[in-house]
Symmetry: C2
Subunit: 458 residues, 2 copies
């Protein structure tokens, strides 16, 4: 591995050769021995556990994180609070009343309304996908419980989630607009466990939220087997929820100061909040842990040229409130590039960069630094993630270190998102990838150029 | 495969050669095309779902099964009812109160007592295994919540369950005897999902049951990580349960009549009841389905020499009440051999027989019939399962067709015991194994001899 790198660096100018050498050494040490990413992931998931946005648990997590980042020696550690409504689930139950009485495993979606006290019972009307519901006359839906299914399968790049998550985010509002009593979806996930996947759904302003919930995949299978028998299916739902306006959330910010304040910052982050069902290990304790461990390695190697700003964003899951608050407060500052780790902790397999054409040689150098980790270039646009997207919209470069998502949607937003699902070896590979990337990007005199104004930020 | 069989049968007497040929043909057809075992498993788990002992659901399942067995053409189909107490779970919740507040996934064990209204909160005292608890002075336990852990790993023969399930069956009573407020165990299972494994626990007659529950493996890991930090852990439990005396359960019985009433019966079965958390697909809809599908194949091939009696036992999970009731009613009848399928639906990999020494040649012929399915002889004693054990105690021969248990305890007694966990190809291999076995044993003039009086029935 080393002699390949030496060959490739021999054609670079002296500065770049030294930087590449440093990046390789830092990368290989991280891959071999990083323990910090595990320590942060273990600590946050154990000592705080679930961290639903704008709850006491999220505030405890902000305190926990601030203490940790200070102890690690980062500069300018502070929490920037913001205000938002808090949505919380209460007890939820579902049962088939007819034709075959039995209980179902389901979870309310974030922003779901509650059923009347004592629950509601109605006949199911089933649709395969959002377009089928969109096409349905309102009188086939009115007063019924809409059941929405799909055929999600695992994909390495997680693309099936992009294609199908609208069933969760938009299906309930679409059902409400047609007069549905409630909307129940097949979990947006790829596992076969009785653990429903929650996640946010959205009702337009001024719309009264109806009950909206997800069934686990085996329960959805059961519903579909019963529907296939051709008899009416009556479902009883009893879902409690609570909304508290004016609750507190916040972003936790820390820095590795650069030697050149005019060189712009690299903003890296993940999100501190999690859904309430699990302890948010892959989503996203590991994300904040990976970027923090990588930044710590850069800091310990000597002051970089360019400032690295770490943000542990609050309230990502319920609507990206933390990312919006950050962009509002800091969008005018000079960000050279933004990036986020929010797709679990399995190995990084590709990288992509959205930047100006002038940056092509730097992107190639980045690829050289990442190649020994099995990471290859992807031409698709870098999107950066929910938390950094509002800042990216100001015109910054964006880079992605894309993780293997094959098993991500087995766990995503379920009670199963717990520490035991993290593979320490793959976690270290992530830290190595971020360390190499920061070593290259934080020390390059030019840095990444902003993308052309019409570049895609999806 | 076929020429091997022909070679081996050439040394057998004419009758046995014909029987072996029939067994092979029936076996291979079952392996290729059986659909009945799937149909029964799918029907029972879909149209009835969970079937807790002595509930309305179990009674509906008895009706469902009786209609099915009659429609299939079996003789003497009837339900034999018996009376027993019904234990039911209500809502259960657990949360760590200190040092790191968060909720836990847990399930009450069968026969668990309830907490006082509003729950109980106490400090945890942890023990690694039953012997550690046994050795503990009562004053270290009194008034506390005992936490019992273990290190179960998957094994093909399921032996780890035999070794460790006493933690569940005996741990709570042992804790109660030392004055514990409650006992919480790490689930007796091998998965890493937030789905606790329930199962029966036993309190001696006259002992007031204390609350007894299982945490899922990730929750148990979490408790152990927190305990490892050396600070007192306070747990709050809120567990509702209900016991109703004098409830109804029953055994469903059907027969394939033999031509020789004096030849003794072969009793085969599985259990109809299930735990309430899942739909009892692997435990044990598939068991009753496998033995029924095999008996149907024998029946359709022409009347066997010896009667085959099928029993779908009631109330196995909560204490083997169905097996006891059957032995009480029928133990004096002549059973040539007894066997049960109650270990899922993954492939049969070995067989064992407990019978008199005179049966050695018949056991060898059975092996010849099973070998093409990848099934080899095991010298360990055949135990037959909970339902047929009381009948075996009367002195009958016993045979086991042992299923691969590698993933059985990932699912056992959890909400995840659902139809999607059944592999139709392996299910058919089970039917083929039982069909071949019945073809050999039901038609052999001598049959299996009873074991010597001191033979092991474990």
């Amino acid at each position: 591995m080393l002699h390949r790198l030496l060959l490739s660096v021999s054609i670079l100018p002296l500065f770049a050769a030294q930087a590449a050498h440093d990046a390789a050494a830092l990368r290989d040490t991280a891959a071999r021995e990083d323990g910090l990413a595990w320590e942060i992931t273990e600590g946050l998931t154990t000592e705080i556990g679930p961290r639903l946005a704008a709850t006491d648990a999220e505030l405890r997590a902000l305190d926990w994180g601030a203490a940790k980042l200070k102890a690690l020696g980062f500069a300018n550690v502070r929490v920037e609070r913001f205000t938002m409504p808090r949505w919380e689930r209460g007890p939820a139950s579902a049962e088939i009343v007819a034709p075959f009485p039995q209980s179902m495993a389901l979870a309310a979606l974030g922003n779901s309304g509650a059923t009347p006290k004592g629950g509601l019972t109605a006949e199911l009307v089933a649709f395969d996908g959002l377009e089928a519901l969109r096409a349905a006359p309102a009188d086939t839906v009115r007063g019924r419980i809409v059941y929405l299914t799909h055929h999600m399968r695992a994909q390495q790049d997680g693309g099936s989630y992009g294609a199908l998550s609208a069933i969760r985010t938009q299906g309930p509002a679409l059902g409400a607009a047609k007069g549905a009593a409630a909307v129940v979806i097949r979990s947006i996930g790829t596992d076969s466990h009785r653990l429903p996947h929650t996640g946010v759904t959205r009702f337009p302003d001024g719309t009264r939220p109806i009950p909206a919930a997800a069934l686990s995949a085996p329960d959805a299978d059961q519903i579909e087997r019963i529907l296939a028998r051709g008899r009416p299916v009556r479902l009883r739902l009893d879902i409690a929820t609570r909304v508290t306006p004016g609750a507190q959330s916040g972003n936790l910010i820390a820095e590795v100061p650069g030697t050149d304040p005019s060189a712009g910052m690299i903003l890296i982050g993940g999100h501190l909040d999690s859904w309430d069902q699990g302890t948010g290990a892959i989503d996203d304790a590991s994300g904040v842990a990976i970027v923090t461990a990588a930044a710590k390695r850069i800091m310990d190697a000597g002051r970089p040229l360019r400032t690295i700003r770490i943000v542990w964003f609050g309230a990502e899951e319920v609507g990206g409130n933390g990312g919006e608050a950050y962009a509002k407060a800091h969008g005018a500052e000079r960000h050279m590039a933004v990036a986020e780790s929010d797709f679990g902790a399995d190995r990084v397999w590709s990288y992509s960069v959205t930047a100006g054409a002038a940056s092509a040689p730097l992107v190639t150098r980045l690829g050289t630094a990442l190649a020994p980790l099995g990471i290859t270039y992807s031409r698709s646009a870098a999107h950066g993630g929910t938390d950094v997207a509002p800042t990216a919209q100001t015109g910054t470069a964006v880079f992605d270190l894309r993780q293997d998502g094959t098993r991500y949607f087995d766990l995503h937003h379920t009670p199963d998102d717990t520490l035991d699902k993290i593979d320490p070896v793959q976690l270290r590979q992530n830290v190595a990838a971020w360390t190499a990337t920061l070593a290259v990007l934080a020390n390059d005199p030019a840095g990444l150029a902003p993308p052309a104004k019409d570049a895609a930020h999806d």
